[in-house]
């Protein structure tokens, strides 16, 4: 109870600051529109080569995961700015759970991502997406889980390094390979060695899972995708909580 109240206080504070910044709100909502408008025309003609009936069912899941990865991986920059202003230290000297300080922030990233995902999917319907409703719900849930994991990771790295100069190259070198190897925009079919490498990237299974579930199929691909989303989230949340609980930070 205590923990949830503290989490709520931190979350509400973050939400207020975010909502008062019109640029943040507008960019957040324009982002999914841009994704669809810019990537759509590029990818639709290719859909047939992957044997997909509906181009949007093929690549909207990829856009979802990309949105999830990119929006949240940069959460750590906000945390470094707050640390610089002394906010983190002021909160750490209160009796509030230090894990709540992390999860309250991550909750905002998750909510932001949820809203963006819904906007993206709704818009995709206008473009001609056909997908099963339960599939969409599970797909968005997995996206948010992955995004929350990235936010935990990014915040923890931010608290450890306390430096944008460490954060920026690190996040770039993580996000680019993940983006390519997961087949986020296009499924990887060639060459074989790339497929093998991609198989060990959890996000590849998550993208495959969301892609499958969008068609209304609930098979092992979906369960593996869900499994990996939960594992990635659990790992990032545990590590992030541990970093925030450290006595010297």
């Amino acid at each position: 109870m205590q923990f949830l109240r503290q989490l709520w206080i931190v979350f509400r504070r973050q939400l207020r600051i975010a909502l008062r910044n019109p640029a943040w709100v507008i960019i957040g909502l324009v982002q999914p529109i841009l994704y669809l408008a810019l990537f759509g025309p590029l990818l639709v003609p290719l859909a047939g080569t992957f044997g997909a009936d509906n181009a949007y069912t093929l690549f909207v899941p990829g856009l979802l995961v990309q949105l999830g990865l990119f929006g949240t991986l940069f959460a750590g920059f906000g945390l470094v700015a707050e640390w610089r202003a002394g906010v983190i230290e002021a909160e750490r000297v209160t009796p509030a759970s230090r894990t709540a300080l992390l999860f309250g922030r991550v909750a905002l990233n998750a909510v932001q991502l949820l809203v963006q995902s819904i906007v993206l999917v709704l818009l995709s319907f206008l473009f001609g997406l056909q997908a099963s409703a339960p599939g969409i719900v599970l797909g968005i849930a997995l996206t948010v889980l992955l995004g929350a994991a990235c936010a935990c990771f990014s915040d923890a790295v931010g608290l450890l390094s306390k430096s944008e100069n460490v954060l920026a190259p690190l996040l770039n070198s993580v996000s680019l390979p993940v983006l390519l190897l997961s087949g986020i925009l296009l499924p990887i079919t060639q060459p074989q060695w790339l497929k093998t490498v991609a198989d060990v990237v959890p996000t590849k299974h998550i993208v495959d899972g969301i892609r499958t579930v969008f068609t209304g199929t609930f098979d092992s691909t979906v369960w593996w995708g869900s499994f990996w989303a939960v594992v990635v989230f659990a790992a990032a949340a545990t590590w992030g909580a541990r970093v925030f609980q450290r006595e010297n930070a």
Binding site: R12, A85, V87, E89, A90, R92, V93, P95
Partner: protein, 321 residues
């Protein structure tokens, strides 16, 4: 209220390629009783902030023990945090938030209700002369206003023990005097214990029951301001003469007044520390008068904490402050 033994913090810092150990705090022993206002006085880099960060559970000591508000900082940090308030040297609010909400949220993290936190925050805004700034972004406040906002943050939950790290840095003289009043009131009205750091001698002198002088991570002296000042032998007598020819007779006259050390000459100024100056001053002035020396000025200064610092550490606080 605070018992500290052998508190030590060693940082590993980089100097070029090699790693060096920085002994920021090197075996500090101190104790503070309930209801005391204690000043932690020392130059830049002396280890004041590092000590405070260990006492407020933000930093784990390398060695030593500290009990704060009845709890061990290492064994039960949450109980310590519940009992204390901390105003850090470097700010505590986001430039993008709203001042009033920052204070209320901070209070709520201590478990107090929103209504109680808001009421206390409004009261603090009035006392700290922050009226009308409730909805202002801290980023759009002046440095001194932001400093007072930090202090409101640290006091919103009415802590029994308050740590203030250079609370008056950046405040104008009137705001400083006002804050001194509030710090004194914390004890008088609420019975709180206050532990504050400062570079300002007049501040420590005016506010504190006891002063701990810290230098190079060690406590160099600990006593009441008056007792510390008594350690400095005698009051400083400074004569200023009108002409260079009068310097030597003035020096001789001052030397005859039994100073603690031979008088120092600096241009037209001649000065020395003299014990029991009240009894000797008339004789001194008469002697100068008999020799026909016209004084441009005579100044008698009671020992200040700067003099104390100089005596205890061999360095002046003014030079690095």
């Amino acid at each position: 209220m605070i018992q500290v033994e052998g508190l030590t913090k060693t940082f590993t810092a980089r100097r070029g390629k090699e790693k060096v150990e920085v002994a920021a705090v090197a075996g500090v022993d101190l104790h503070v009783d309930e209801g005391e206002i204690v000043g932690f006085l020392g130059p830049n880099g002396a280890g004041k902030t590092t000590t405070l960060r260990m006492l407020t559970t933000l930093l784990r000591p390398t060695a030593g023990t500290a009990r704060v508000a009845g709890h061990d900082v290492a064994a039960d940090p949450v109980a310590v945090r519940r009992a204390i308030g901390y105003v850090s040297q470097s700010g505590s609010t986001s430039p993008e938030a709203r001042a009033g909400e920052e204070v209320v949220d901070h209070g709520m993290l201590y478990g107090i209700s929103r209504a109680a936190a808001a009421a206390r925050a409004r009261e603090l805004f009035a006392q700290l002369e922050l009226d009308g700034l409730w909805d202002r972004k801290p980023g759009a406040m002046s440095g001194g206003q932001r400093r007072r906002l930090d202090i409101a943050m640290g006091l919103v939950h009415d802590p029994r023990l308050v740590f203030l790290d250079e609370p008056t840095t950046g405040l104008d003289p009137q705001a400083r005097a006002n804050l001194w009043g509030h710090i004194a009131d914390l004890r008088r009205v609420r019975g709180s214990t206050v532990f504050l750091t400062t570079h300002y001698l007049d501040e420590a002198d005016a506010l504190c029951d006891r002063i701990l002088v810290i230098d190079h991570g060690r406590i160099a002296a600990a006593d009441t301001p008056d007792a510390l000042k008594r350690q400095v032998a005698g009051d400083l007598v400074q004569l200023t003469v009108g002409a260079a020819a009068d310097v030597e007779p003035a020096r001789a006259a001052l030397a005859a007044a039994e100073p603690e050390e031979p008088p120092a000459v600096d241009g037209l100024h001649v000065s020395a520390r003299v014990r029991g100056v009240a009894g000797r001053l008339p004789t001194l002035v008469r002697r100068l008068d008999e020799q026909g020396i016209v004084l441009a000025g005579i100044e008698v200064r009671r020992p200040t904490l700067d003099d104390v610092f100089l005596t205890v550490t061999g360095r002046s606080l003014r030079e690095d402050a």
